[in-house]
C-alpha cells in the first residue's frame, strides 16, 4: 500500500545540509524526518521555522561577516 507522509521538503546546499544534520543530531533528531539526497531532506512541518532560526544562529556564530566591518569602516 502506498504511504503518504506529511512534511516540508527542504532544498539547500550540501554544506548547509551538513549544518542542519548537525543541529538535528544535537536535538534528539527532532527536526528531520528523512535525508533524501545531497541537497534535499524531509523536515517536520511544524519545526521548519525553529530549524531556520537555529541555522541562522549557527551561521552567525561560525561565520565571520566581512562586510560588517567594511560597511562601518566606510561610514
Amino acid at each position: 500500500m502506498v504511504k503518504a507522509v506529511r512534511g516540508t521538503l527542504v532544498k539547500c546546499d550540501a554544506s548547509i545540509k551538513a549544518m542542519l544534520v548537525d543541529i538535528d543530531s544535537k536535538n534528539n533528531n527532532d527536526f528531520i524526518i528523512e535525508e533524501l539526497d545531497e541537497e534535499h531532506m524531509l523536515v517536520k512541518e511544524t519545526k521548519v521555522n525553529a530549524l531556520k532560526n537555529r541555522l541562522q544562529q549557527m551561521m552567525k556564530d561560525r561565520l565571520k561577516d566581512p562586510t560588517i566591518d567594511e560597511d562601518s569602516g566606510k561610514e
Binding site: 500500500m1 504511504k3 503518504a4 507522509v5 516540508t8 521538503l9 527542504v10 532544498k11 562586510t67 560597511d71
Partner: protein, 474 residues
C-alpha cells in the same frame, strides 16, 4: 491573466459550491470571471460548450485537443471544475464520463453575451440631471489621493515621516483596522504601527494587484460585519464592468451593497458627491478591476494625461541607477521616498531629488523583511528614468546581478510543504503516479531508485491512488 487577477482566482477557487451557484446568478459576475479569471484554453472550452444542449462525453472533448496538449487541457478543466463551472458525471459503468456546463453559469453568460433578460446586473445609469457631472480627471485625482494616503499610512509610519507634506490624510478607522486585520501593518513597540512583511509586498505591487489584495482582505472580513459574501463579490464584479465617468443609481443596490459603497468610497474605488447621494461614480481603480489594463499608473488615455502634482504612483520614470550602485530619484513625493528608503540607503535630499546608494546592508534588510529581489528590481525597472530607458535593459546588469546575489546570501533554504509518497507496490504503479503528478504540476522531487516522490498538493493524488488501488483489487 495578470498577477493581480490570479490572486482573485485563488480566492474564488476556495469558495464553496453554494457561493459559486449564487454568484453565477449575476450575468455581470459571470462575464467578469469569464473575461479575466479563466485561462484562454478554459475560455475556449466554455465557449464550445455554451450552446450545447446535452453533456459532452469525454472522448468527444478529447477530440478537441491535440494529444500533445493533454497537460494544458487537464489544468484548464481543473480550474473550471474548481470554480464549479464545469461538472463531470459518470455516465455508465467504468470509463465514460461526460462534462456539462453548470446551468446557472451557462444561462448568465448567454444573457451577458446577448444582452437579454432584465437582470440589471450591469448597473443602472442615473437619469441625466442638470447637476454638474464629475469629470474623469477629478475622479482620477480623487482615487489617487485616497489610494496614496492608504499606501502612505503603511509606509510612512515605518520610515518615520509623520504627517508631513499634506500626504498623510486620515484614512478612516475602517481602513486602518482592515490593514491591521490583513497583517499589512502591525502594532509596534511604543504604540505606533509599522509595516509588515505582507505590507512590503503589498506596497511594491502594481496598483491593480494592490486593490485586489485589499479587497480580498475585505472579503474575508465581511462575514463578521454581517454582510453576505456573495453580495459583496457580485458588487465588485459589477463595478468592474461599469464605465468611467458615468454616474450610477444606488436605487437597485441591496443594503449590503449600500454599506459597501461607504467603505469603497474610503478606498477611493467609488466617488460620491455627498455621503447620502443617490448616485455614485466608479473611479479608475474600480473599472479596471476585471481588466488587464493597469489602474491609475497607466494613463494611456490621451484625455487624462493630467500632470501628477503630488507625484505618487501615477508619475512614471524618475529613478536613475548607476553602475556604482548610486541611485538618484527625481521626486518630491514622500510616498516614493518612503518606498525607496525600504531598500536603499538614502543620504541626501534636495527639493526635487533624493540620492542614495543600494548597499548590501540595505538590500539584505529588505530581504529579511520579506521583499524579494525581483520585487525591488521590477520596481526600479518600471520606474526607470526616461534617460535610463534608452539602454536595454534599463538597469545596469551588474546592479541587477548583485542585488540577486545579495538576496541569495540570506536565503539558504528552499522549503515546500506537502506530502512524500512512497512504498509503491510495483515499478509501473510508481511510474504511472509520477507521470500523473507531473502532468498536474504538483511534483516537486522524486527518487526513481527508491520509488518515492514529493508533491505539494495531495487531493487529486489521493483520488488517483484510490482508483489505482481499485484497479489492482479487481
Amino acid at each position: 491573466m495578470s498577477v493581480s487577477t490570479s490572486q482573485a482566482l485563488d480566492y474564488l477557487e476556495q469558495l464553496p459550491v453554494q457561493t459559486h451557484r449564487k454568484l453565477y446568478e449575476q450575468p455581470s459576475t459571470v462575464l467578469a470571471i469569464f473575461r479575466c479569471m479563466l485561462p484562454h484554453l478554459a475560455k475556449s472550452i466554455v465557449m464550445g460548450m455554451l450552446y450545447m444542449p446535452t453533456p459532452i462525453s469525454s472522448p468527444d472533448l478529447d477530440a478537441w485537443f491535440r494529444p500533445s496538449a493533454a497537460k494544458l487541457k487537464r489544468s484548464s478543466l481543473e480550474i473550471l471544475e474548481k470554480l464549479h463551472i464545469v461538472s463531470q458525471k459518470q455516465l455508465d459503468a467504468v470509463k465514460h464520463t461526460a462534462f456539462t456546463l453548470s446551468p446557472g453559469f451557462a444561462k448568465s453568460l448567454r444573457q451577458a453575451l446577448e444582452g437579454s433578460g432584465t437582470h440589471r446586473s450591469f448597473g443602472v445609469p442615473a437619469p441625466p440631471t442638470s447637476a454638474r457631472k464629475v469629470s474623469v480627471a477629478e475622479l482620477d485625482d480623487y482615487a489617487r489621493i485616497q489610494w496614496e494616503s492608504i499606501l502612505f499610512y503603511m509606509v510612512g509610519s515605518t520610515v518615520g515621516f509623520h504627517g508631513g507634506g499634506g500626504m498623510a490624510r486620515d484614512i478612516g478607522k475602517g481602513t486602518r483596522s482592515l490593514l491591521e486585520a490583513g497583517d499589512f501593518v502591525g502594532k509596534k513597540f511604543g504604540g505606533g504601527v509599522g509595516i509588515t512583511r505582507t505590507g512590503f509586498m503589498f506596497v511594491l505591487q502594481d496598483t491593480n494587484a494592490q486593490v485586489w489584495s485589499l479587497l480580498i482582505e475585505y472579503l474575508k472580513h465581511v462575514n463578521q460585519l454581517g454582510m453576505s459574501e456573495t453580495d459583496v463579490l457580485s458588487f465588485l464584479f459589477m463595478l468592474g464592468s461599469l464605465e468611467l465617468g458615468q454616474d450610477y443609481s444606488t436605487s437597485t443596490l441591496s443594503p449590503t451593497q449600500l454599506q459597501m459603497l461607504i467603505d469603497l468610497t474610503a478606498f477611493g474605488l467609488v466617488y460620491r458627491t455627498s455621503e447620502n447621494a443617490s448616485t455614485f461614480y466608479p473611479t479608475r481603480l474600480a473599472t479596471t478591476l476585471t481588466s488587464d489594463s493597469g489602474a491609475l499608473s497607466a494613463t494611456n488615455n490621451p484625455h487624462d494625461h493630467a500632470p501628477a502634482p503630488s507625484g505618487g504612483a501615477t508619475q512614471k520614470g524618475f529613478i536613475i541607477v548607476e553602475t556604482n550602485y548610486r541611485i538618484y530619484a527625481y521626486t518630491s513625493s514622500l510616498l516614493q521616498i518612503a518606498v525607496l528608503s525600504l531598500f536603499c540607503k538614502l543620504t541626501t535630499r534636495f527639493p526635487n531629488l533624493v540620492s542614495g546608494k543600494l548597499t548590501r546592508a540595505s538590500i539584505s534588510r529588505a530581504v529579511q523583511t520579506g521583499i524579494s529581489a525581483d520585487q525591488i528590481l521590477s520596481y526600479l525597472d518600471s520606474h526607470a528614468h526616461p534617460q535610463m530607458q534608452k539602454s536595454v535593459p534599463f538597469l545596469p546588469p551588474t546592479v541587477t546581478d548583485q542585488i540577486r546575489l545579495w538576496e541569495l546570501e540570506g536565503e539558504r533554504l528552499e522549503c515546500t510543504d506537502g506530502y512524500m509518497l512512497r512504498e509503491f507496490p510495483s515499478d509501473k504503479d510508481y511510474r504511472d503516479m509520477v507521470k500523473y503528478a507531473e502532468d498536474l504540476g504538483v511534483l516537486v522531487w522524486k527518487d526513481d531508485g527508491e520509488r518515492k516522490f514529493f508533491v505539494n498538493r495531495i487531493e487529486q493524488m489521493q483520488e488517483a491512488l484510490k482508483k489505482q488501488g481499485q484497479r489492482r483489487a479487481r
